[in-house]
Symmetry: C2
Subunit: 134 residues, 2 copies
DNA sequence: CCCCTTAGTATCTATAGGATACCGATGATT
DNA sequence: AATCATCGGTATCCTATAGATACTAAGGGG
């Protein structure tokens, strides 16, 4: 039932609600965090630019997301002593290491959109009365 | 600023809130959906078993999650005419195709737990007054 | 003096998630 | 025969999170 790996993190178990790996896993799955990370893939981006690229996120939620990513060591926050203010957000090495896994997931999502939309149509049709069978 | 891939899904853009790929991507990132899919990796599982394996999910939320996965064509729901009732949930081919990407992410999460916990400690220390610098 | 910019906060509301209780059907138990 | 246990959910209530919107601070320029 369980696969014990000899390498790194053999005791980590996503299914255990007390295991930090679950928290980490769900952080990645956060509605906005993974999008923010991907926007930062090409280098530092400032707050206002993030708002434009990750539409349509509200400033409050973007701030929350960035704080959490910073706290988890995935991004850094650099404040420039300017007016108007400038704050750059940038991936750390840890954050960059997440890009690969995220890309795999993103590719899956984008290439399977048609299948999923078809399934939805079929599902909705089946409960709209115009069901082809039954 | 944007990378257009020649392969599958060149028009899908996760950053576009109107693009279905974003919805799909965020569905994967759902707090429970990805855990459920991984529990179903080894074959059909019934409702009560899912509740045990994906702890600690409430029945209402598990039902919602399963309905959504079913609607999106990732799992099937099989009702057996028994008492007490038995309902099996099982991955479709589409659902199985998601296991690979999810495993990549899970491995990343489980192997990077220490780094993230360290970052959190450092972050929290820095705002507890006992900051080592400044 | 007022307006422009940026990077957020403050406040309020809407929606989703979570805790708990309950239901329907039936076989086993008492 | 009445009761209990099982299973797959619903119904109800409450809270936590997300979202919408307005506002602030700190200057520079007109």
């Amino acid at each position: 039932m369980e696969t014990l790996l000899p390498g790194p993190g053999p005791s980590a178990d996503i299914m255990d609600p007390l295991c930090p790996s679950r928290v980490v896993f769900q952080r990645i799955g956060d509605k906005w965090a993974s999008l923010v990370v991907q926007v930062l893939a090409d280098g530092p981006v400032r707050f206002s630019e993030l708002r434009k690229h990750v539409h349509v996120i509200t400033p409050k939620v973007l701030t929350q997301t960035l704080r959490t990513l910073e706290r988890d060591g995935l991004i850094t926050r650099t404040v420039f002593a300017q007016v108007p203010p400038r704050v750059d957000y940038q991936l750390t090495a840890l954050g960059e290491s997440l890009l690969g896994p995220l890309t795999v997931l993103r590719d899956w999502a984008e290439s399977n959109v048609p299948s999923i939309l078809d399934a939805r149509d079929a599902y909705d049709d089946a409960r709209d009365g115009t069901l082809p069978e039954g």
